[in-house]
Amino acid sequence: MIQHARVICTSFLVAALGLSAAAIAQKPFADVGKQPPITILIGSTPWYPAFEKVVGIYEQQTGNKIKLDVVPFGGILEKARNAVRSGQSPYDLMTLDTQWTIEFYDGGFLSPLKEIDAAFELPKEVLSYGDSGYWNAQKRWRTADGGKLMAYTVLGNVQLLYYRGDVLKQAGIAPPKTWDDVLAACAKLNEPPKMYGFVARGEKGNGIRYDWQSVMLAERASVAKDPAAGDYTVTINSPQAKAALDLYIDLLKRCGPPNYGSLGQGDVIQLLATGKAAMGDVVTAAFASFEDPNKSAVVGKLDTVALPRGRSGANGAVIGNWNAGIPKNASDPQKKAALSFLRWFVTYDAQHAFAENGGIPNRSDVFTSDLAKQPRFRWMPAYLETQKFAQQELGYAEGAQVEQVLGLRLNQALIGEMSSAKALNTAAREIEDIFRKSGRKTGTLPPLPE
């Protein structure tokens, strides 16, 4: 009876708030009990609206309050650092880019989830995202092997190969399976300035580092030999890495616009959205905006496949996810409340709702649900396919510094300030230096002939 009344009551509230009719009929996704209000630090991202809606459903269903402190993307890290470095944290849950989480794991700023509640387990359907939520404090490396669960993925992004279904079809080209296919296709499609064959990020910094590493993985190259085993011998100046870099430079120069050396994510999306690019290497999260007629001239025309294989025959993709963790300096009841939300959030129902509202779910079963059949979720198969080989990169404490090195040297090779061999040799030397300073077992390959 009471249960009934609550459902009705909730229904009215939900209806009053204008939420989708689908939500009204749903029963609570999971029972987490009464919890004190919590505050979540979250960035302003394209998937934020979906998250906000799901939080709204959580509040409806549980009556627990959540305050969302939405901060600009450029301010999240700053806010998170401030929060954990002094006094009591104003946040009880913080969503952080995977690259940033390392610093928080390593500094011991997050409470391992099992220390808050020993019984907490992630459902097995939840994708692992390269163990990015685990931290092995001895190895200073993200791995479930001997690592503690510190955080888990709120949103998992991977790069996908977007292509214009209509354009490729007309040209009689099948969706590329290898990077050589991409080169071949763009040789046919490239018709600047009307149409560029393929676009990806060449911008200095995170942009080129991230996009290039997919190709690097596809050529079976690596930055460090075997971090899992503690072997940090730098392998970035291997012949395979050089092949990957040469291929990437080739792709961007031959298929992209003349400003390939400064293309960022926004530029790549802009070129695809305006119909100026036939193919592009873009994050999954951008898909929704290509389907929004206010933002895209190619609604319904872009399809996705997993990023292509390299000449080595391997696939490569880098995971770029957002992890949520609980600050060590939050109060115990708040921590429990935050964990309760997490527990609720990873249920199938919550993830289903998250996907429906435009988020990327983190459970494999949602990808095989009814949603996958809908055209607007046509990216799901490619995404799930990518999960089989996608990897976390730079998942060690020195990651941020290594990214700086790669971000500059790769860009310099791209714009011709250095040869690719010299760029990689330089990067190898610098990265080795970083590893040595932090006391890793390291070394480097013999330099590539320049």
Binding site: T39, G43, S44, T45, P46, Y48, P49, E52, K67, L68, D69, V70, V71, P72, F73, G74, G75, E78, K79, R81, N82, R85, S86, G87, P90, D97, Q265, G266, I269, Q270, A273, T274, V283, A285, A286, S289, P293, N294, K295, S296, A297
Partner: protein, 292 residues
């Protein structure tokens, strides 16, 4: 907005203005027109962008079908706190401007008029400059810690105080330059005529540096209005200011240019109005104070 309202300027017919003596002529007019066009060009672009859909901005479409949806989203969107952000900014910027004008002008006057030992004046001025040179990012951590300890985190007071501090160097230096050009005899005359020192300062000195006060005031207001890193770190969502809100449109994977443009336009209007009111307030307050 009009300084010719200051008692300093004269009926145009009576004398030459400083610049008719030098400027003027068709060269000046042409240069001015060019400058206004150069300033307004990008601004007009922002204005039109605010009426465009993102895709129209992306593709540089012209002509375009205008839409008010960006404004609707910014002002009334369910997830938008923009009106609140503008109010926060107005409060913080006007309070910090008023404070910095009082504190900074007094300090500038004190340093310029009274004979301080060199270590005091040079020390103070040098410190303000060096402080001004420090990249703000390195200061934020300690400020965050201090204000949190004081229980002032996420209050406007913390933000106002830091903005006053950040703007103080420029205000002091700028006002000092204006005081320097004032002959001391005028104040001495006021003292002999029967003013207390503070009275002479308010009734005679200040009205004579109105142009300087207005310039300092506008600059302090704008710097406070646009200050991002401190506002971001010392406040949370409820007290966020305009630049923090606008930065939210610069997302990880895309910049929401259309809404950013609308927000920029929306935030400019109250700022301009408030600056105009502030100027009028300064002019009126000081000239009336001198006469009454």
């Amino acid at each position: 907005m009009n300084t010719s309202a200051t008692a300093l300027s004269l009926p145009r017919s009576a004398t030459t203005t400083p610049a008719t003596a030098v400027g003027g002529g068709w060269i000046g007019t042409t240069l001015l027109a060019l400058a206004v066009a150069a300033v307004l060009g990008p601004f007009a672009w922002i204005l039109t962008a605010s009426f465009k859909y993102q895709i129209a901005i992306y593709s540089g479409e012209w002509p375009f079908t205008p839409t008010l949806s960006n404004y609707a989203e910014v002002l009334f969107g369910r997830r938008s706190d923009f009106v609140g952000n503008v109010v926060n900014s107005l409060i913080v910027a006007s309070a910090s401007t008023a404070l910095v004008l009082v504190v900074g002008t007094l300090a500038a006057y004190s340093l310029q008029r009274f004979r301080w030992p060199v270590w005091v004046s040079a020390g103070f001025l040098g410190w303000t400059l060096v402080f001004h040179m420090i990249p703000v990012m390195t200061l934020i951590g300690p400020w965050y810690v201090a204000f949190r300890e004081l229980g002032l985190y996420d209050t406007r007071i913390a933000l106002i105080l830091t903005h006053v501090t950040i703007n103080l160097p420029m205000t002091v230096w700028l006002m000092r330059a204006f005081f320097r050009e004032l002959p001391p005899e005028i104040e001495e005359a006021a003292l002999v005529d029967g003013c207390r020192p503070l009275e002479a300062f308010r009734r005679v000195t200040l009205p004579l540096v109105i142009p300087g006060l207005i310039a300092s005031g506008i600059l302090a207001f704008i710097f406070s209005w646009n200050e991002f890193p401190v506002a971001l770190s010392l406040t949370s969502r409820d007290l966020a200011t305009v630049p923090v809100a606008i930065a939210r449109f610069a997302q990880q994977y895309e910049i929401q240019h259309s809404q950013m443009a609308a927000a920029s336009i929306v935030s400019t209007i109250p700022a301009v109005i408030l600056m105009a009111l502030g100027q009028r307030f300064i002019v009126r307050g000081l000239t009336l104070g001198a006469v009454k």
